[in-house]
């Protein structure tokens, strides 16, 4: 019988892990991915129209290891009106030696949320300006919260401004106990955020650019997390022309969808100038100076799911 691990068990296991160990786990994943040690299948996608929704399937394995992982994550955007979370999902851990199902992680999308936020912390660890004046968060949802929560471990800055369309949601964000270590202001004007922040994380499902090139200060780093399917875009394609370094979690995926894809389509980015995150980390390259603009485009790579699912399964099974 396969081991079934509930969301509450998963949360308990994650609570026993330090932030820095989780960030390192995801960092290691990006490095092994860019080193060609990971077999990642093309992302599977199933769209729904009535009601609107999406299912993504990400799967793969680190070659020569024990497991392979299949992750399903759904977004049904009208769920909140039914009192349900928009995001949902589960992860399956199988044996790479026999194909047997070893474990079902009923994480309801939580591990996807966590590993996505951890990728933002990995990026900030390697691409953040030395002195972050203020952190700008675009969006007020769960990912906007988790991104900030994990930035705590890699940045000293505790001053934050959050942009959203709803005053109520921004206030809920600012008073979230998860973020109580931060001093959080709110704004409905994105230029108020861009004028004071040199580290910006975008986390929305926007279909139009929110962050205009004309607004972004020199010396700013942007992590763009929201655009995970074709048609979504958060960062003005024109900003890519000003960028010194453009990093993508997966070049293959980011030239297919994500903000890089929009910039390539607009002619403001040449795909050959994108550096893959794992390659960037091992290269030892740094932001050249405080006037650099850098952009990291994160679309989510199966290796993040593989590594976090292995961790949770290993702990639950008493293997690690």
């Amino acid at each position: 019988m396969s081991k079934i691990i509930s969301l509450s068990e998963i949360k308990k296991i994650l609570d026993t892990c330090s932030d820095s160990s989780l960030i390192q786990l995801i960092e290691n994943g990006f490095v092994s991915y860019s080193n060609g040690e990971v077999l990642v299948a093309p992302v599977g996608h199933l769209p729904f129209t009535n009601p609107p929704g999406d299912l993504h399937i990400k799967y793969g394995y680190v070659k020569g290891k024990e497991y392979f992982v299949v992750k399903m994550a759904s977004g049904f955007y009208e769920n909140p009106s039914l009192g349900l979370s928009a995001s949902n999902g589960l992860m399956l851990v199988f044996s790479q030696k026999t194909g047997e199902l070893l474990s079902i992680l009923l994480d309801e999308g939580h591990l996807t949320d966590i590993r996505t936020a951890l990728a933002g912390a990995v990026v900030a660890k390697h691409l953040s300006p030395k002195n972050v004046s203020r952190i700008g968060i675009v969006g007020t949802g769960i990912q906007a919260r988790l991104q900030l929560r994990y930035l705590k471990s890699v940045l000293n800055c505790r001053n934050v401004i959050v942009w959203g369309r709803s005053q109520e949601k921004m206030e809920a964000y600012a008073s979230d106990s998860l973020l109580s270590d931060f001093n959080i202001a709110t704004t409905r004007h994105i230029d108020e955020l861009t004028a004071t922040c040199n580290l910006i994380v975008t986390t929305t499902p926007s279909k139009n650019p929110l962050l205009l090139s004309s607004q972004v200060m020199e010396g700013t780093h942007i992590t763009a997390v929201g655009a995970d399917t074709p048609g979504k875009v958060e960062v003005d394609p024109a900003l890519f022309e000003r960028a010194d370094i453009v990093v993508a979690d997966s070049i293959t995926q980011c030239i297919d969808h994500g903000d890089c894809a929009s910039a390539i389509a607009a002619g403001t980015l040449d795909a050959k100038n994108i550096i893959e995150l794992g390659t960037f980390i091992t290269s030892g390259k740094k932001r050249s100076d405080d006037s650099s603009i850098t952009i990291a485009d994160l679309t989510g790579v199966a290796v993040q799911d593989i590594n976090i699912a292995e961790l949770v399964y290993g702990r639950a099974a008493g293997l690690t």
Copy 2:
């Protein structure tokens, strides 16, 4: 909490269903698929090399219905040496309205085996010669058994000859209690099978044609089930030039892999001459006469998984 349904519960539920109702369930699926009522995503594939294996992910939904289904099926061909089944897998049933996981069917590949065999019965129902002299089965594995088991409901013929490479496996096949209604001869010479059989089902993972055009009699129908990934082929491409009717469960899939793909590559089949199974069924077309050669290429379509998973979940949840 999602409903978890074990293999033994699944088998009990299937036992309460008549063969004809199961065959009709899969037939209805092919018709709705060819009518454009089903959204089927491209098949996901993850290959393994050490040890060799495959994972296939099939998923989709019938538009406007309650559920969507994700099916994972693995084949790890060295498993039998470990005392494990080569095939394995599970199916997941989700709500099409909210994305919530409703049920996990721990079928270990059994439902895939069953729905694949049921497709063979659907084909025989519509394409079998009026008088079947003898049924030829190529292969001795689980699919070779289940194909014959479900042919019982749609054919009167009880005379069978099975071809295999191992005398031991052929004898195990011939004495399987599942097939006790049949009179089963064995042979290691495929021409002994082709000389007496006008209904042949091929069920092997062969990478070279087993059934040569020069051997096949006029008036024969062939159902080719084995070639489910690129590189596999059971039917001589030359036979397609002699065929009056070529049916595919999914034209998209069969021109990508399967025996049709091999014939197209060999120049012996024009893709536009393939009729999709669901279209063939509703067209009311018949084999033209007893001298026809007809071929059905089955690669397995997600709608089969969707329909059988819905049935099992509905029964288990007391919904139907």
